[in-house]
Symmetry: C2
Subunit: 449 residues, 2 copies
């Protein structure tokens, strides 16, 4: 009888909503201050659109909607006998949004004549994935993406780093690091290793180094009977330490034969220099040549936000070339960054960074006598007229019950209105009481709020 | 090759998003000022929850999600042979949110121990219905609902009418009417007619009178061979005209035998009196004893927002008793109102009520020389530091192209930065130019923005 939530989904109650809106509002304001415009796309997309990018493994995580009406009308028993995979594309034509990138690209391709390029857009919407639920992993979750599409300028990379730093400053999150790298540097490392280790293995190795550590990686490679030269080269690469400048210099020596890697190293150096020149407090950019961001569609610059002692990043992104090609629009480069809302939320909650009591009603008027209702409604109307958030207790009830309600809702002032229409204003925190005319009490309230 | 939107869905571009956010922001602020708290519920609900309320016709409009993995594993060929209806409940367990009422009730039942009653909540989220797309009807659309659950006080009705009037005042919508009625009055009318017309036919008739008019209704009834007395009674009821007070008085005479109807007439009279006492500008409450709001779950007070010459209402709602019973929580009364966002949007668009240029970047810095990049980024950073929304044109490009971009994006000021780092500020609307130091130009800009 008692209803339940669908597995892996969540309700957000009033307090959680206040906190979530606090994060979103800071993000929106900052994006708009930087010239990003907002779009929204439907939760439902054609499967033909959704299937364009994600690999077959990801495709299995897409929620598919069964065709309305008689979905079996065109299905033959022979097809059913061959298994569910044989009929799924015929009984579902639509699915639910899996990320915000494919919808962005579809939007750009469909509206390329009216979009102002370079197109700087932000989008904050839910996505759905039929993943097995785990702690802090949900089937419905919110993504917050910014992308700049149609410019190869390095200013894009700088802009997004500046946005991150301004948002984190406004959210009062300190001690975060922006880890940066470039896929072309990884490519050059892989070329440098070639001959000693298979390319595939190099990428797997780099991708895993943060998860299992260098020692285990080296042991793992020894078991694979990698020649000693390979192990030695890898050790050299992994053990490059120091500040950004030092790491860049050492790596430049190893990769000196690979122009594409050297260019990317210089580019990273330049980006760091531009930002350092601004002397921003609390910004900490770290070049890490082992950052790989999985085997995603990024082709150049990649970055991630990390907090010490927290394994998962609070956001990540990178530059992608030719992503619009999948829908026939060629030669468009873009860069995107996705903020991990749930992780940012959890971190802020843990660090007690949310404002207290930000959305509350300031005054509750008591409702002690039915005959006074007309007067009470007038007082309520006057309070709201001067923009004081206020409530009248809805039922004529015992005072105690009304005070419990106000207390639970954290309403700080009570206007106690007696039968003779005299008004007492009570501060629920300090217990102070003021008896006066309505107009004089309003002056008192305005000073205190 | 070219991708398409799923049938019946929409993208919202930057301008539409600005307008939508303008509406939502006014609604949210007003709800919060009146003590309503915000919740959000998942887009996906268990079918067992979704199927609880909506009739079988509505249930067919619910988007159903196919079970992940081998959805056929427990299905027998015999079942398939009996038709799709016989297997649908076994191959889908979840569906998409169809309205905001069932999720609210599920939320209340699941959280009844921590909710502060009376529970005043607002919720602004999308819903999905597999309706045939028509003009201004979509498969994905936004609902904006407010409900007060757990109080039978008439103050609830008054509060929601006051919210409507404040929101419409802030949106600058005039000439709207709030039409009110009570289902109990309709019930009494139906009792008054009994003996002459079947009850079923009375409700159909009342529901249709606004759509096809009184004359056609009467002709339709004549064809049904209704006795003359019935037709006469209906004519009497439908032809009651005049102001609210007059209508109430005439109707009171017809319904004098039916206490429940008389009480409801008095209640409506009282609600109107309380609100009239506040002397609010532009509020227009009309009692209409033929308002029926379909055959929905409302049991008492019902209301609707109408604009002259527009057939569809801009919102509607009413009081419902015992709606939480479906999940085993008894004796809870609530009142809800749902704002029709798309219709409000379309009306405001037509009447040109949206603010112009509300979200734009104020200043664009030109990017004419790669060597200046460091300086340009510093200027950009300084502008944002003092909270001026600004952009640096991303690519080093011809001035003309940069001005076209600024023009398209409706950016009003250009900071033209020359090779010698001298700065010219140009007002793109007036053509005025100012040449000065950065600090002096900032003073100029601050005055003008």
């Amino acid at each position: 009888m008692k209803p339940t939530l669908a597995n892996g989904t969540r309700d957000f109650g009033p307090r959680e909503m206040d906190n979530r809106k606090y994060i979103f509002s800071i993000m929106r304001k900052t994006f708009e201050k930087y010239g990003f415009v907002n779009i929204e796309t439907p939760a439902i997309e054609n499967n033909s659109t959704l299937n364009k990018k994600y690999g077959s493994e990801a495709s299995q995580l897409i929620f598919k909607i069964i065709n309305s009406g008689n979905f079996l009308s065109k299905i033959k028993i022979e097809d059913i006998n061959k298994g569910y995979k044989n009929i799924i594309d015929n009984i579902t034509k639509k699915g639910m949004r899996y990320d915000l990138t494919i919808p962005l690209i579809r939007y750009i391709v469909m509206n390329s004549n009216k979009i102002i390029f370079p197109f700087k857009r932000y989008q904050i919407q839910n996505v759905w994935r039929s993943d097995r639920p785990q702690k802090n992993r949900y089937k419905e979750f919110c993504q917050c993406d910014i992308d700049i599409v149609g410019s190869k300028s390095k200013v894009c990379e700088i802009e997004i780093i500046l946005i991150i730093s301004e948002i984190f400053h406004n959210l009062k999150i300190k001690n975060y690091k922006i880890i940066i790298n470039n896929k072309k540097i990884l490519e050059s490392i892989s070329r440098y290793m070639k001959g000693s280790i298979k390319e595939n293995l190099i990428f797997i190795t780099i991708d895993k180094v943060h998860k299992i550590g260098i020692k285990k990686i080296l042991k793992f490679l020894e078991k694979k009977e990698i020649p000693l030269l390979g192990i030695k080269k890898l050790k050299n690469i992994f053990r490059i330490k120091g500040d950004n400048f030092k790491k860049k210099n050492i790596l430049s020596k190893y990769l000196k034969k690979y122009k594409i890697g050297i260019n990317s190293l210089n580019e990273i150096n330049e980006i760091i220099k531009y930002i350092n020149n601004l002397k921003i407090k609390n910004i900490n950019i770290e070049f890490d040549h082992t950052l790989s961001r999985g085997l995603t569609y990024y082709t150049d610059f990649i970055f991630e936000i990390k907090i010490t002692n927290i394994k998962e990043s609070l956001g990540g992104g990178g530059r992608y070339n030719n992503l619009t090609n999948i829908f026939g629009l060629n030669n468009i480069s873009g860069i995107g960054f996705s903020f991990g809302i749930d992780r940012i939320y959890n971190f802020m909650k843990e660090m007690n960074l949310f404002p207290h009591n930000n959305n509350n009603i300031k005054i509750m008027i008591t409702n002690l006598n039915k005959k006074l209702l007309n007067f009470l409604i007038k007082i309520l109307f006057k309070l709201r007229k001067i923009n004081i958030a206020s409530e009248l207790y809805l039922n004529t009830n015992k005072l105690k019950k009304q005070l419990i309600y106000a207390n639970k809702k954290k309403i700080n002032y009570i206007m106690l209105i007696k039968e003779d229409k005299s008004i007492i204003l009570k501060n629920m925190t300090t217990g102070e009481q003021y008896k006066n005319t309505f107009n004089n009490l309003i002056k008192t309230v305005k000073k205190m709020i």
